[in-house]
């Protein structure tokens, strides 16, 4: 299994404030990894740094290619889909337009249409609402739409920022089930950033714990979930 993403000595900044202090980790192809930590630990910052949405120094390599200096839209075009915090859905546009936007960087029209149908298969509720304005969907539905939109890119790596935020546990279970399926069937490598550690650890194979901009713990998801000390100190349960 090859390494899909390597991060070395990542330091990220918001203006003068340093948010990441030499982060290091890597993702294997086809794996599902979760990045856990408290509020403000740097989880979102990490994802944003990967997509070059903020100023950072260090080494980020995707499939062997360095991402230094690559603009966000070009990082995305390399095959990395990012479902941001707050979902980033185009609320003024219809569900179908959102999906079309997911594929806007592709040119294979027939395949795009097939993919949209496939998304409706994964998320039937979206098919029901496909002409509705995305802003009128419920939280859970918007999250599904955000994930579906990301998948329209046919990404090889998917970054998800707190997908469980504001959603009922049952819906999160559904969503994570779909993510697991996507990982298995479509070989999409997944990195999920979560505050809700419990569900994330059920989904993922590997886990990293981040605190004030540094990785403080790593291991298989099972290890971390079973380790009471870690759970109490870093994950709050």
């Amino acid at each position: 299994m090859s390494t899909m993403l390597t991060i070395k000595d990542l330091r990220a900044y918001y203006g003068q404030v340093q948010a990441l202090h030499g982060l290091e980790f890597s993702l294997n192809e086809g794996s599902v990894t979760t990045l856990l930590g408290a509020n403000g630990a740097g989880k979102t910052t990490t994802l944003r740094a990967i997509c070059n949405m903020i100023r950072s120094t260090g080494n980020i390599e995707f499939e062997g290619k360095s991402l230094a200096g690559v603009s966000t839209e070009n990082v995305v075009r390399l095959g990395i889909a990012h479902v941001p915090q707050g979902r980033g859905t185009f609320t003024n546009m219809t569900v179908e337009e959102n999906l079309q936007l997911g594929a806007i960087s592709r040119s294979d029209k027939k395949e795009i249409e097939n993919d949209i149908e496939q998304m409706y298969g994964f998320f039937p509720v979206l098919k029901q609402r496909y002409t509705q304005q995305a802003g009128t969907l419920s939280g859970g539905e918007q999250q599904m739409l955000a994930v579906a939109r990301a998948l329209m890119l046919r990404p090889r790596l998917m970054l998800l920022d707190e997908p469980s935020f504001g959603l009922a546990p049952l819906i999160v279970r559904d969503l994570f089930g779909i993510l697991a399926r996507i990982n298995r069937e479509h070989k999409v490598t997944i990195l999920v950033v979560e505050q809700n550690a419990q569900l994330a650890l059920e989904l993922a194979e590997k886990a990293y714990v981040i605190e004030t901009g540094r990785i403080v713990m790593s291991g298989s998801a099972k290890e971390i979930a079973n380790n009471e000390d870690i759970r109490k100190s870093y994950l709050g349960y």
């Binding site: 997509c51 949405m53 603009s71 966000t72 839209e73 070009n74 995305v76 075009r77 889909a81 990012h82 941001p84 980033g88 859905t89 185009f90 003024n92 546009m93 337009e97 079309q100 936007l101 997911g102 806007i104 960087s105 939109r149 890119l153």
Partner: protein, 292 residues
């Protein structure tokens, strides 16, 4: 009653000018979230280019089309060279940039073509429309072109991929980048399109107000007023706003005593302010919900 109808129709005719200008204003606003104070001068400059091409022997329509292309490219060049560097600067600096552009275009036009007024031909002729005394064929042509333009823009934004991408880039730039859209070039494209639309507006207006470097000053203001009235997020609103402003201006001039030409503009602007205070997002605009 007849006077009223006449004035309304005449207002619609002049309103076509404002509608066209307002379309260009909304176009740029959609792309960059700012009102471009130099829009009128860009339109004026484009019109002069068309005029010059015709002086050099080109027929009206070839000159028209070539001017559209030149304006499109010119708009992109101006954005890339002068406004892209200002992307992260505060709003006020952008406004200063527009003012600087205004000064440059006005001055260069004045030097190149001087300030004497020139005739600009209309492709529609100037006889009465359908025999009517109120609307000339040119004015009818203006209304027609504006409506055609609006329809084309509607189809462009609704049904083309690039139109969709532009809408996305304008509404949520960060999300747009996350689907692979180069938002920077979308802005440039917006400028190019606005520049071409402005050129059309200029070439439609010039036969009526005569071509000279200062011709667009008042008209741009009416264009802004119309765009704001209609709602800065709505091209349809811009066009409706344009017609409404034209009609209102005419009615005020006719029915309120003592209002000469000089006061028409301030009164139109006062109307806009009243509308804004009551409905800040304009007649057809979308209210922007502010997330805390």
């Amino acid at each position: 009653m007849e006077l009223f109808t006449n004035q309304v129709l005449a207002g619609i005719a002049t309103g076509a000018i404002y509608a066209c200008m307002a379309l260009a204003v909304v176009m740029i606003y959609q792309a960059i979230d700012h009102l471009n104070f130099a829009q009128g001068e860009m339109a004026m400059f484009s019109t002069f280019i068309a005029w010059q091409l015709m002086q050099w022997g080109l027929g009206f329509w070839p000159a028209f089309l070539l001017t559209l292309v030149i304006s499109f490219v010119g708009g992109i060049v101006i954005e890339r060279a002068l406004f892209k560097p200002l992307t992260n600067a505060p709003v006020l600096v952008h406004v200063a940039g527009f003012i600087a552009l205004f000064a440059i275009l006005n001055s260069v036009a004045g030097l190149t073509w001087d300030f004497t007024i020139k005739q600009f031909p209309s492709p529609f002729g100037s006889s009465g429309f359908l025999g009517s005394q109120l609307i000339s064929t040119h004015q009818a042509g203006m209304i027609g072109v504006t409506l055609v333009l609006l329809t084309l823009l509607f189809f462009f934004f609704r049904y083309t991929r690039i139109g969709l991408a532009m809408r996305a880039a304008a509404s949520l730039p960060e999300s747009a980048r996350l689907v692979g859209i180069n938002t920077s070039w979308m802005i440039a494209l917006g400028w190019g399109m606005a520049s071409s639309i402005g050129a059309i507006a200029g070439m439609l207006i010039a036969p009526v107000v005569f071509l000279e470097p200062n011709m667009m000053g008042g008209i741009l203001l009416y264009g802004f007023a119309a765009a704001v009235l209609g709602g800065l997020t709505s091209p349809f609103g811009a066009v409706v706003g344009g017609f409404l402003v034209g009609v209102f201006e005419n009615l005020v001039g006719t029915y309120i005593p003592g209002v000469g030409n000089e006061l028409k503009l301030p009164i139109a602007l006062a109307l806009i302010i009243v509308v804004l205070v009551i409905k800040p997002s304009g007649l057809f605009g979308r209210a922007i919900v502010q997330r805390v």
